[in-house]
Each structure stands twice: as structure tokens, then as C-alpha cells.
């Protein structure tokens, strides 16, 4: 058994979208190094409930780093200090006894706070709705090799398709830009023959929707790539820009 750690938490509380938010503080004395960050928050909520207080709301689902539901800004970094890790897969062994941890929700005008650390990320859904799909009858699954695709392209398409839509890119961007998310969705479909037909229409619609939702401009800080839990490169943004220019001159 490893020794329990003491962790001093400071977390964002906000009753609703229009309520005034504030920080609350609490010290936990029974944090185990094997706990995930979210399990540590479960312990916090158990203690809060025993004290008769409201638990802290936070988003999660799979806790396996694949669903993209969790998106906490931990000590000023989206998903915490580790590279290519979602905060559900961040373990408390990365902290030491007596550490102070500040937890904030991802902050962006396009991600209004629902409660405490939970934000509404439906702006991402609307970007996808604008063009992040292929309009063909899919029918049943085809023989995988019936459409030949260069290995380089299928690998890149897969890399971009690994985006889990957590919104860490927006959370960490100094401009709150959604360019990495949008770029990844565009590049993923653009690399495949099935996505080719609607390529121009897609990029224009999705880029317009990104602005419509109130996300900021990209300033090439590349902070999005640094915080992305699946390590999507800002090359996705380059793909989006190339597709956009092609669409203008097509």
C-alpha cells in the first residue's frame, strides 16, 4: 500500500450558465497515487456529500481516454501536465504530497458553462453538422480493399480521425480558436476518396461555422497540439487552409 497524500484543491464553482462563478477550496488527506485524477475528484465529492454540501460537477464518461468527455484545465493546462493524456488517464502519482491544484473548466465564449466544471460543447457538433460528413448511402460494410487508398493517406486520415472532440485545443488556445478540431475533421475526410466529392463545400461550411460559433482566430501558437490528448498536429490546420484556398479558386 502506498502512503496517502495530502492535496490542496481549488476548484471552480458556478451554479448555472448565468450565475457568478467563484473558487472553492478543500484539502484532501486520503489521495492515493494510484488514483486517476477523476477518482480523486470522486473522493472530493464523497467528502463534500458527507459534509452535506453540493458535489462538484465534472464531465466524464469512459475514463479510458477515448471518449473526449473530460476536459479539465488543471493548474492552467488543459488535461493537466502530461503530454498526450486525457485528464481521466492522468494519475495522482504525477503529484506529490502537499501539492496545490487549481481546477478550472475550459473557458471560451463558445463553450458556455452549464455548471461548475461542465461546459456545453455543442458548438463542436454544429461545426460537424455544417459539413463534417460524407453524404453517400453507406449500405452494409464493403470489402475493405475495394477502394485502393495509399498507405500514407490512410495513415494520415486515421491520425486526424483520432480527434476525440474534447475541446482541449480551444481551452488552451490563447485566442480560444477551434482551428485544430475543425482542421482535424476536415483533413480526416479530405484524405480519403469518399470525402473528396464534398471537399470544397465542406471546408467552406465548417470554417464559416467555426466563426459563427464565436471561436477566435488562429495565431499559430501551436498550444493546441501540445495539449491534444491524442497528439493531433497543427498540420491539420495547414490542410484546412490549403483546402480553403483550393475551394476559393475552384
Amino acid at each position: 500500500m502506498s502512503k496517502d497524500m495530502t492535496i490542496h484543491l481549488k476548484y471552480w464553482k458556478q451554479a448555472g450558465p448565468d450565475a457568478q462563478g467563484y473558487f472553492e477550496e478543500k484539502t484532501l488527506n486520503t489521495v492515493n497515487e494510484h488514483m486517476s485524477f477523476l477518482e480523486m475528484l470522486d473522493v472530493l465529492n464523497e467528502e463534500l456529500q458527507l459534509e452535506g454540501k453540493d458535489p462538484v460537477e465534472f464531465d466524464y464518461d469512459c475514463r479510458e481516454g477515448i471518449c473526449g468527455s473530460c476536459n479539465l484545465v488543471i493548474n492552467g493546462q488543459a488535461h493537466g501536465p502530461k503530454e498526450k493524456v486525457a485528464c481521466c488517464q492522468l494519475h495522482m502519482r504525477n503529484y506529490k504530497d502537499g501539492d496545490h491544484i487549481t481546477i478550472e473548466p475550459p473557458k471560451a465564449g463558445a463553450f458556455p458553462i452549464i455548471k461548475d466544471l461542465v461546459v456545453d460543447r455543442s458548438a463542436f457538433d454544429r461545426i460537424i453538422e455544417a459539413g463534417g460528413y460524407v453524404s453517400v448511402k453507406t449500405g452494409s460494410a464493403q470489402e475493405a480493399n475495394s477502394i485502393p487508398i495509399e498507405k500514407e493517406h490512410s495513415d494520415l486520415a486515421f491520425d486526424y480521425a483520432t480527434c476525440i472532440g474534447c475541446g482541449a485545443c480551444v481551452a488552451a488556445c490563447p485566442n480560444a480558436s477551434a482551428s485544430l478540431f475543425t482542421g482535424a475533421k476536415i483533413a480526416h475526410l479530405g484524405k480519403l476518396p469518399q470525402g473528396e466529392l464534398e471537399r470544397s463545400k465542406r471546408v467552406v461550411a465548417m470554417v464559416d461555422q467555426m466563426k459563427e460559433e464565436g471561436f477566435g482566430d488562429c495565431s499559430n501558437f501551436a498550444e493546441c497540439e501540445a495539449v491534444c490528448p491524442v497528439g493531433i498536429s497543427i498540420s491539420a490546420i495547414a490542410e484546412m487552409r490549403k483546402d480553403y484556398v483550393k475551394a476559393v479558386f475552384s
Binding site: 492552467g76 488543459a78 503530454e83 465564449g109 499559430n220 497540439e225 495547414a238 487552409r241 476559393v248
Partner: protein, 232 residues
């Protein structure tokens, strides 16, 4: 497909235009430095260079208008992107820290609006200072011409002028160190090996270019305009 107006006002279009105007201004800076260095040529070299430019007549106005357009467009886009971030994130974080690694967040990239704004103010003062400064005259090949060289040599012997110029030029190193790399990235460069080389080139370019600019006022100041590099 999008109209040119729609494309230029899209977030992609704005970034691409920031890059294109930025690259245009970098080419201008290279030409500007090459011209400035003629101050170390023969006694008449600098004034011949300025006279050649003045003799372009209406063409010079066209070039100046083009430059002003590039500069203003670049500035308007930069300021507008910066203002947009407040709208996109009305409430900031209590704690914010870059994650490092592939991130390009550094002093240069985070201070683009500050370095850019100061360069903008400097540019206005710089034009007033020299273009509309004292109108000394000299004779070149029997023709009357403006003696801008005399004004430059006089002005760069004033301490506050030299401090101001060196300060702004050092800020320009920062602005270009991020701007050079960012322009290529905006124009479709992937974030791979080439990108790393371009970043190194960006540092080298901005430092070498600005050292060239800084050398002139410092040399004139410390030699009292009578150093061996200046012919009379």
C-alpha cells in the same frame, strides 16, 4: 464557392493575408537595409540612392501606396485578431501555463500585439523623422538633391534617438522571430522537419537583419559620425 470578400473575412483568409502581407514587409525590410547600408559607401552613395528613389516620380507614390496598404492591412488584421480573442474568451483563467513541447508559445509569439503596436507607432515617427525631417540640399552630378545623409548623421548622434531606434529594432527581432515562421505556417507549411528548419531560419533572419539595422545608428553614435566606414 466563397466570394473573395467572404474568403478574405474568413478566419482562414485573415490568417493567410496576415502571412502574405508579413512576407511582403520582410522583403521590404531587406531592400530597406540594403539601401541604408549605402551610407557606408562613397560620400555621395547614400544621397544618390535616395535621389534615385525620388526620381522615380509617380512610380514612387505607387510603391509607397502599396507599402502603406501592406502595412495597414497587416496591422488591421493583427489588431482585429487580438481584439477577437477577448470576445472568444470573455473570462480568462485564474492560472494559465503553456504545456511546452510542440507549442510555439513564447515571449515572441505572446508579445506580437505589443511589438507590432510599438513598431506601428515607430513607423509613423520614423517617417516624420526622416522623410519629413530637415530638408538639407547638396549637389549630385551638377543637380540639386536632398542631403538626407547629413540628416541621418546628425540625428544618430542624439542619444535619445539612438536609444529609441535600438529599442524598437530589438522588438522587431522578437516580432520577426515568430512572424517569419508563422507566415510560412499560415501558408500551408506542415508541422514537421521543415517547420523546425524554418523556425531556426526565422531566428537567424530576424537577428541578422536587425543587427544590420542597429549597426548604423550605433556606429554613427559611437564614432561621432567620423568612423573610418564613413567617407567624406
Amino acid at each position: 464557392m466563397p466570394s473573395i470578400k467572404q474568403a478574405l473575412s474568413s478566419q482562414v483568409g485573415r490568417k493567410i493575408m496576415t502571412g502574405i502581407t508579413g512576407i511582403g514587409l520582410m522583403f521590404f525590410l531587406i531592400g530597406h537595409l540594403a539601401g541604408n547600408l549605402s551610407i557606408f559607401g562613397t560620400a555621395d552613395a547614400f544621397n544618390i540612392y535616395t535621389k534615385t528613389l525620388m526620381d522615380l516620380g509617380p512610380l514612387l507614390y505607387v510603391i509607397e501606396a502599396g507599402l502603406a496598404f501592406f502595412f495597414l492591412y497587416h496591422t488591421v488584421l493583427g489588431v482585429s485578431i487580438w481584439l477577437g480573442r477577448r470576445k472568444a474568451r470573455p473570462e480568462g483563467y485564474n492560472t494559465y501555463k503553456s504545456k511546452g513541447g510542440p507549442s510555439h508559445q513564447n515571449l515572441a509569439s505572446r508579445s506580437m500585439i505589443i511589438s507590432g503596436s510599438i513598431i506601428f507607432i515607430f513607423l509613423v515617427l520614423h517617417i516624420i523623422h526622416f522623410k519629413f525631417g530637415a530638408d538639407y540640399t547638396t549637389m549630385i552630378d551638377g543637380e540639386q538633391a536632398r542631403d538626407l545623409r547629413r540628416l541621418v548623421l546628425e540625428e544618430f548622434q542624439k542619444t535619445w534617438v539612438v536609444i529609441g531606434y535600438v529599442f524598437v529594432l530589438l522588438l522587431a527581432v522578437l516580432h520577426l522571430a515568430h512572424g517569419f515562421w508563422s507566415a510560412f505556417t499560415s501558408l500551408g507549411m506542415k508541422h514537421g522537419e521543415t517547420s523546425k528548419k524554418i523556425q531556426v531560419t526565422a531566428y537567424a533572419f530576424s537577428i541578422i537583419l536587425m543587427l544590420g539595422f542597429i549597426f548604423i545608428p550605433l556606429y554613427i553614435y559611437f564614432t561621432g559620425g567620423e568612423g573610418s566606414l564613413i567617407s567624406y
